[in-house]
Point group: D2
Chain length 144, copies 4
């Protein structure tokens, strides 16, 4: 999808992401912002794991959801807010390695609702492996 | 659903939950364990929020997913492991208040796959409000 | 959920359902219309099956989706249109028997988006069995 | 994904598809079978529509689900059966035009569970337009 983002989109994403305290808590950071596409990185930290030592599905969901939300947000007008309506995530392989990279892109941008896809990759010395995928519906709220 | 859980189910859930370091990181704790049903509580902490000050959808997903997984786990035989195959969550209202309670129950228990529902309620002085709902598929792994 | 539906909701559902030619093609019919709740019945016909002789998941999805849409529609104002934004369905058991009944109810009614749940039961001489469950997001469109 | 399919996969898909009577009822036909990828075509027929004259979401779901199932099936060993565990579909634009093409591919092939994506395009004189997307979990059953 070739898309055009409104002026200032990159700064708006950075400003909003900086206000997501949950992202700081889990150590996530913005890797890349482009029109209709955002990547977020999560370290594979011991304090983010489930009972088998893999990154908890909720932590994966957190970064994939934020990546989807901000991918949609890049295409929204100045003054808009973005909220997640719903998302679905499949866990495809154990999330182990050094870090997780969530790569989201807008599949359909609408005035009110946008649909995004995100893939989650586990990166390690051995390369990268797809560990999760998400589809989410993001909503644009104006005013308020 | 009237269900019977294998002996020792409650302790197995407590032991496994204690190993989910992500749950400790976000301050979640087990509230209730019954055959086919588990409740988990999450405090509404500032460090778990998104840009509007609501609990981040990923943090909601984390406790609803763990509640679903352990609801399914109560009905699995000793020696089993449980992993999340996939889940879908809808955000129904801003997650604000004092604490979130995730209430999960098994909708269909299978030998390999179980399907669970979970509702997430925000509790405050004014009562409780439904803020999210999840359906998830949980897998029983034996051996290894 | 105790809800109030706008005057004339039942007739609006009947009129709209009558225009869903896909429902006639598969033999589905409205069973019950109440504020925030709609039931639809589908016969278990040979021409609706998949390769094992069970009702095809898409046919189950069709009646659960219509039931969700019309459950949401009962609470929408006169002049509104309803469309499905998205849904997720889990198949819980083989859909066999004499007929399928989809029972949908509104979980959260919003001005623009409503979230509905639906269960699909297979009915036969032996009683009823839960064979599928859905969560869907329905959108209210005014004007046009 | 570069994948290898077991000998005879194409014929097994054709044989199984021919047994899906629901596909004949709605006029769907197989367009393409490749390792890990299947396309199915649906005519835009008046008797498949919802109340606005668009193809009903359940009919879209039926062809996207069959395409996902058979994409997964191409990679399963001889003697396997495939069933849909669950799927989620987003409707992205009104499904109008001359025909719908569902294009599915395997995202992760597992011994028991496979995860597939499918896009649904509406084709008309004016070109093709993305109208729906699905992610589904497909299960391989051996024996019986």
């Amino acid at each position: 999808m070739s898309v055009k983002a409104p002026d200032g989109f990159e700064q708006r994403v950075r400003d909003s992401f900086a206000q997501q305290k949950a992202m700081a808590t889990i150590g996530a950071r913005l890797l890349r912002i482009a029109p209709g596409a955002v990547d977020i990185e999560l370290p594979v930290r011991d304090d983010l794991t489930q009972q088998d030592g893999f990154v908890h599905a909720g932590m994966l969901a957190a970064v994939l959801d934020s990546a989807c939300g901000y991918a949609a947000f890049t295409l929204m007008p100045a003054g808009a807010r973005v909220v997640s309506v719903e998302f679905k995530i499949n866990m495809l392989a154990p999330a182990v390695g050094e870090r997780i990279v969530a790569r989201a892109r807008v599949k359909k941008a609408g005035r009110t609702l946008s649909v995004c896809d995100a893939d989650g990759f586990a990166l390690s010395a051995g390369g990268e492996k797809l560990v999760a995928c998400m589809t989410g519906t993001m909503m644009c709220l104006m005013g308020a």
